[in-house]
C-alpha cells in the first residue's frame, strides 16, 4: 500500500514481511530507525516468531547473524559506517561461509574526523568482502530491494547488503508502496539453507583451508558471484511481475539513447542528477545518466552496454580512494576500456555535503566542453584548502591536525574574520 512514511520505517516493515527469524541490532546513526522499528514489531508480537537481540557491538551483531544463519534461521541486521568497519572481520566471514544474511547499510562516511553524514565510503570499504551489494536510488527501491535481497541471498547462499543513503533516504518521509505480507510470502519462499548445523546430520563448518585449496575456494566464490549477475535481473523481473513495479536489476539508464555525456552514479544522488540531466537536455545538451543498482558483483558487461554510445563518462561518486581517486570509476573504467570515451571522476557529497542540482549542472556544462579535470572534487572550497596548504608550508613548528585547522578556518570565515 502506498503510504507517506519514513524510509527507515518502510524498510523495517518490509523486512518484517520477509519474516526474519533472528534480527540483531547495535545502534548507529543513521541506521537506528530501522532496527528500532523492527525491534518494536518483534516486541509487540507483530513480527513473530522472531528473536530480536540487542548486542554489544556491530561485530557481535554480524556474529549473531552468522550463528543464526548457520543454524538455519533467516537472519537480518543493519549498520552503517564505523559499525560496518567494526564488524568487518565478520562481514568477510559471513560471505566466506556462504551464509545468506541480509544487511541494510545506511550509508555513512567513515571517520576520522568523525562525521555522521552520508557518503559511500563504508560501502566501498567492503566491496571485496564477497557480499552482494545493491544500491537503492529511492526509498521505494530500498524497500523493494530488501524483498529481492532475501531471495537472491538464499538462492545463492551468499549474504546481500542493501545500501541506502543514510539520512537522505533513511530519514526521508515520502510516499512509499510498502509491500503487503501476502505478496512477499508469494515471492519469498521459506528459508531452506544450503548447509545447516544440525545435530541429526552433523558437519564441521569453517574448516581451515590451506594453500592447496584456498585459491579454488575463492575462485568458486567468484563463480557464485557471477551467477548473481544472471539471478539478480531474473529476480527483478519476477518482482516486477509480482509487485507491478520495476526495481532492482543490474543497471538503469536514463536518457542515454543519444547521449554524448553519460553520468554514472550510485544511490539517491541519481534523483538529483536526473533533474540536472533534464535541465541540461532542456538547454540542448545530450546528456544521460546510468545508475548502478548492483555494485557487487560488478556488472561489467551491462555497464559497458549502457555506456556504449557515450563520448564522455562522468562518474559521480560519494567516496574516493585517498591516494588514488575514484573507486567506482576504476570499475567503470574496466567496463569502458574497449571504448573511445573519456572517463572523469567527480567526487561529491563527502561527509554529507549536499550535492545540488546547480553544482551538477555546472559540472555537466564543464564536462560538455571537456573542461573537466580527470579527478574533480565537486563544490570544493579551494580557499580553505589553499590557506591550509600555505600554513603547512610556512609552519616552523609541528603542523597539528589539518581537520581542526580547517574547521577553525571555516569558523573564522563565517564570522567574517577571513576573506572568503
Amino acid at each position: 500500500m502506498l503510504r507517506q512514511i519514513e524510509g527507515s520505517r518502510a524498510v523495517a516493515e518490509t523486512v518484517a514481511c520477509c519474516r526474519p527469524e533472528v534480527v540483531c541490532a547495535y545502534p548507529i546513526s543513521p541506521q537506528t530507525h530501522i532496527i528500532e522499528a523492527v525491534g518494536a514489531m518483534v516486541k509487540s508480537g507483530a513480527l513473530s516468531p522472531c528473536e530480536f537481540i540487542n548486542v554489544e557491538s556491530e561485530f557481535a551483531a554480524m556474529s549473531v547473524s552468522i550463528g543464526a544463519s548457520a543454524a538455519g534461521a533467516r537472519a537480518y541486521t543493519a549498520t552503517a559506517s564505523q559499525g560496518l568497519l567494526f564488524m568487518m572481520e565478520a562481514v568477510y566471514n559471513a560471505s566466506g561461509l556462504g551464509l545468506p544474511i541480509v544487511m541494510t547499510l545506511a550509508n555513512r562516511t567513515i571517520g576520522g574526523p568523525i562525521n555522521i553524514w552520508n557518503d559511500h565510503s563504508d560501502a566501498m570499504s567492503v566491496r571485496d568482502t564477497g557480499w552482494i551489494q545493491l544500491f537503492a536510488e529511492t526509498n521505494q527501491e530500498a524497500v523493494d530491494l530488501h524483498v529481492q535481497a532475501f531471495v537472491i541471498a538464499e538462492r545463492l547462499s551468499l549474504p546481500v547488503m542493501v545500501c541506502m543513503d543514510g539520512f537522505i533516504l533513511t530519514h526521508a518521509i515520502e510516499g512509499i508502496d510498502v509491500p503487503e505480507q501476502d505478496a512477499v510470502d508469494a515471492f519469498l519462499p521459506p528459508f531452506e539453507p544450503r548447509q545447516v548445523l544440525d545435530p541429526d546430520d552433523p558437519v564441521s563448518i569453517g574448516a581451515m583451508v590451506g594453500p592447496e585449496a584456498f585459491e579454488e575456494v575463492r575462485y568458486l566464490a567468484y563463480v557464485r558471484q557471477l551467477e548473481a549477475l544472471d539471478l539478480i535481473p531474473a529476480v527483478a523481473a519476477d518482482f516486477a511481475r509480482g509487485f507491478g513495479r520495476s526495481s532492482g536489476g543490474l543497471v538503469r539508464s536514463y536518457r542515454t539513447e543519444d547521449a554524448d555525456t553519460v553520468v554514472v552514479a550510485l544511490g539517491s544522488v541519481l534523483g538529483t542528477i536526473k533533474d540536472a540531466v533534464d535541465a541540461r537536455r532542456d538547454a540542448g545538451e545530450r546528456v544521460g545518466v546510468v545508475g548502478i543498482t548492483t555494485f557487487r558483483p560488478f556488472p561489467v558487461q551491462a555497464v559497458a552496454n549502457a555506456l556504449a554510445g557515450a563520448q564522455r563518462v562522468v562518474v559521480v561518486e560519494k567516496a574516493f580512494s585517498v591516494g588514488f581517486g575514484g573507486v567506482l570509476s576504476t570499475d567503470v573504467a574496466l567496463a569502458t576500456q574497449r571504448s573511445e570515451s573519456s572517463l572523469y571522476t567527480v567526487v561529491a557529497g563527502l561527509g554529507g555535503r549536499p550535492i545540488t542540482r546547480r553544482h551538477l549542472e555546472t559540472m555537466l556544462a564543464a564536462a560538455g566542453e571537456d573542461q573537466l579535470e580527470v579527478l574533480t572534487f565537486l563544490d570544493l572550497d579551494t580557499g580553505v584548502v589553499e590557506r591550509e596548504q600555505a600554513r603547512m608550508a610556512a609552519a616552523t613548528t609541528r603542523p597539528g591536525p589539518t581537520a581542526e585547522f580547517v574547521l577553525r578556518d571555516l569558523a573564522l570565515r563565517q564570522n567574517g574574520e577571513v576573506e572568503p
Binding site: 548447509q195 558437519v203 574448516a207 575456494v217
Partner: protein
C-alpha cells in the same frame, strides 16, 4: 545439503590422518609382580583374590585364594602377613589389611560350607607325605588336586602339627583349624595318625610310593644349660603349649618368667597369663629392635599385662627366683655381659629358645643331605634323593606356618613335575611393581580398618579368640584399598586420558589395546596409570 567445497567437512574424517607416525616411543601394557604376592610365603596370588573380593564376589575370591593355600581361615589368624609388610599402600597411608580379608573369606567359606575344588583325575601315582602340619597338609592338598594318591601320616593323635600343638587357641580356635583340615582330607587323602615313620626308605618301598614329602617339623625344644637349684621349676615352651592344647596344662605358679624373644616366647607368656599367672615376664637378652617376635604379638601381650625384661640373660634358676644379668649390646648388636645381676621373683621358668627337628627317619637315606640339623633341598624342595622332598620347619627357612604351607605347595608342584619327568623350574617372575611406578593420586585417602579386639578383661581369663573378624562391609572396604600394583584393573584411565583416542576399550575383563595408528606417544597414559601397568618403550628404527 550441498556443503561448500573445503569450508564444510564431513564429521570424523580426520581418522584418515594416522598420527601414529609422530611417535618415537610407544606405550605397552605390562603385568608386574605385586609386592604382596611376591612376599607371600604361602605363594598366594594376593592381589588376584583381593581383586575378586572388591566387587563383593567373595566365593570367587576364596576360590582364587585356595588355589594356592587351603587355609584362609587359619592364615587369616596366625599368618604374620609379610604381604602387608611389603604392601605399597603402606607408603601411602597404611598397608591393606590383607590378612583380615583373608580371614573374612576363610570364615565365610566355613560358614557357607564352600568346598575346595575336587581332586584331579587319578594319575596312578602314589605319594607319601610325612607330617600333618601345615607343610604336609598343603602338599597333600595340592597333590590331590593334581590327581595323585596321597598317604598322609603323622605321629600325633590329630592333624595340624604346630598349628594345633604350638599355637594357643586364643589365636587359632580349634574349630576353625578342624574345619579347614577336614575340608582337605575330604578330597580323598589317606590319613594315618599316630604313625611315626622310622625309616623313610623302607616306608617308601613298602607303600610303593613314587615320591615322599618329609614335613616332620621342628618338635624338639632346645635346652640351655642354666645352673639351677633343686626343684627349680623349668620347662620348655613347646611342651607347655602342647599340654595346654591337650587340655592338660602344667602348674606354673603366679609368677612366670619366659626366657626367649621369639613368637613362641610371647605365646608362652600370654598362655601363662591365661593359666593364672599374675606376673608373666619375658626375659630377653636384646632390645625390642632386635626381637624376633612379631610386633603385633608383642603389643597384644603387653596389652594383656605381660612385661619384658630387656637386655637380660638368666644366669641361674632357683625355686621362687631367678638371677638375671644385665647385658649391653656391642656395635654389631650382640649382647655382652656386664656382670651386673639382680634377682627376679619367679615360680617357674619357661624356656622358649627355639626348636630342632628329629631327623632319625632319614638316617638310612644317604643321599638326603642334612646340614646343621636342616634337610638341604633344591628350589623344587627335592632333597638329594630323587623323589624325596622336604619342607616346613625341617628345611632351612623361616619357621612359620605360612612358610610351611608355601613349601608344601611348592613341593607338590615339584613332585608333580618329578612324577611327570618334567623340569620343575618356575617361570621367571615379572618385574616388581614398585611404589614409584604408581600414580597414587587416584587412590582416595582410606585409613585401614581395625579388626575388633576382645576386651582386655576377658583376654587374660579365657582362651577365647582375641582378634575378631571383619564385618562384610569392612572386608569389602579393606579389599578395595588394594592399589592393584603393577596390574591393570580396568580403571579406564588410559582410555580416558588419551588426547588422541588411541586407546581401545575391549570390554569387562578384556582390558585395553593401543591403537598405534593414532597414538602419538605422549606418555600421559603411562603417567596417569594408577597401578603402573604401562611401560614406554622406544620405537624400533
Amino acid at each position: 545439503m550441498e556443503p561448500p567445497f573445503a569450508i564444510t567437512l564431513d564429521v570424523g574424517s580426520s581418522r584418515a590422518n594416522h598420527t601414529g607416525s609422530w611417535r618415537v616411543e610407544r606405550p605397552v601394557y605390562v603385568d608386574r609382580q605385586p609386592p604382596c604376592s611376591d612376599a607371600c610365603l604361602a605363594g598366594e596370588r594376593v592381589q588376584q583374590w583381593l581383586y575378586q573380593a572388591e566387587p563383593g564376589d567373595y566365593e570367587a575370591a576364596w576360590r582364587q585364594l585356595v588355589e594356592d593355600n587351603p587355609f584362609p581361615a587359619v592364615m587369616g589368624r596366625i599368618c604374620y602377613h609379610p604381604c602387608e609388610t611389603a604392601c605399597n599402600r603402606a607408603q601411602l597411608d597404611e598397608a591393606v589389611g590383607i590378612n583380615a580379608v583373608e580371614r573374612f573369606l576363610g570364615d565365610l567359606a566355613i560358614d557357607r560350607g564352600w568346598e575346595l575344588p575336587p581332586a584331579g583325575s587319578d594319575t596312578g601315582k602314589r605319594v607319601l607325605v610325612i607330617g600333618g602340619g601345615p607343610a604336609g597338609l598343603s602338599c597333600a592338598y595340592r597333590l590331590r588336586r593334581l590327581g595323585h594318591h596321597v598317604r598322609l601320616v603323622d605321629s600325633a593323635v590329630a592333624l595340624g602339627g604346630m598349628m594345633r600343638f604350638g599355637i594357643p587357641a586364643y589365636r587359632l580356635p580349634r574349630d576353625v583349624l578342624d574345619a579347614e583340615i577336614e575340608r582337605i582330607i575330604a578330597l580323598g587323602i589317606d590319613v594315618g595318625l599316630e604313625h611315626t615313620v622310622e625309616d623313610i626308605e623302607s616306608e617308601r618301598a613298602e607303600g610303593a610310593f613314587d615320591a615322599v614329602f618329609v614335613a616332620v617339623g621342628a618338635q624338639l625344644a632346645r635346652r640351655l644349660d642354666i645352673p639351677s637349684g633343686d626343684s627349680a621349676r623349668v620347662l620348655d615352651a613347646i611342651s607347655l603349649l602342647h599340654r595346654v592344647a591337650d587340655g592338660d596344662p602344667p602348674q606354673l605358679g603366679l609368677r612366670v618368667a619366659v626366657y626367649g624373644g621369639g613368637d613362641t616366647a610371647i605365646d608362652a607368656a600370654r598362655t601363662a597369663r591365661r593359666l593364672g599367672a599374675t606376673d608373666a615376664v619375658v626375659v630377653y637378652r636384646r632390645n625390642r629392635g632386635h626381637m624376633p617376635a612379631h610386633g603385633d604379638e608383642l603389643d597384644e601381650a603387653l596389652a594383656e599385662g605381660v612385661t619384658v625384661r630387656w637386655l637380660s640373660v638368666v644366669d641361674r634358676v632357683d625355686p621362687g627366683r631367678l638371677v638375671v644379668e644385665k647385658v649391653r649390646l656391642d656395635d654389631e648388636g650382640f649382647p655382652v655381659p656386664t656382670g651386673e645381676t639382680e634377682e627376679l621373683a619367679a615360680d617357674s621358668l619357661v624356656l622358649a629358645l627355639g626348636q630342632d627337628t628329629d631327623l632319625t627317619l632319614l638316617e638310612r637315606a644317604p643321599d638326603v643331605a642334612v646340614d646343621d640339623g636342616y634337610v638341604q633341598v633344591e628350589a623344587t624342595m627335592m632333597t638329594g634323593e630323587a623323589g624325596v622332598f622336604a619342607g616346613g620347619d625341617s628345611v632351612p627357612s623361616q619357621r612359620t606356618a605360612t612358610m610351611a604351607i608355601g613349601h608344601g605347595g611348592r613341593a607338590a608342584l615339584g613332585i608333580d613335575a618329578f612324577l611327570a619327568g618334567r623340569d620343575a623350574t618356575d617361570p621367571p617372575l615379572a618385574a616388581p611393581a614398585t611404589f614409584d611406578r604408581l600414580n597414587t593420586w587416584y587412590f582416595a585417602e582410606a585409613p585401614r580398618t581395625r579388626r575388633p579386639e576382645l576386651e582386655r578383661a576377658r583376654r587374660v581369663s579365657t582362651f577365647d579368640e582375641v582378634v575378631g573378624g571383619l564385618t562384610e562391609e569392612n572386608a569389602l572396604f579393606e579389599a578395595r584399598r588394594c592399589l592393584s600394583c603393577g596390574n591393570c584393573f580396568e580403571c579406564d584411565n588410559c582410555f580416558g586420558v588419551c588426547p588422541d583416542n588411541a586407546v581401545i576399550k575391549l570390554g569387562p575383563g578384556e582390558r585395553y589395546r593401543f591403537d598405534y595408528d593414532f597414538c602419538k606417544g605422549c606418555g600421559i597414559c603411562v603417567a596417569e596409570c594408577p597401578c603402573g601397568a604401562i611401560d614406554m618403550v622406544p620405537e624400533e628404527i
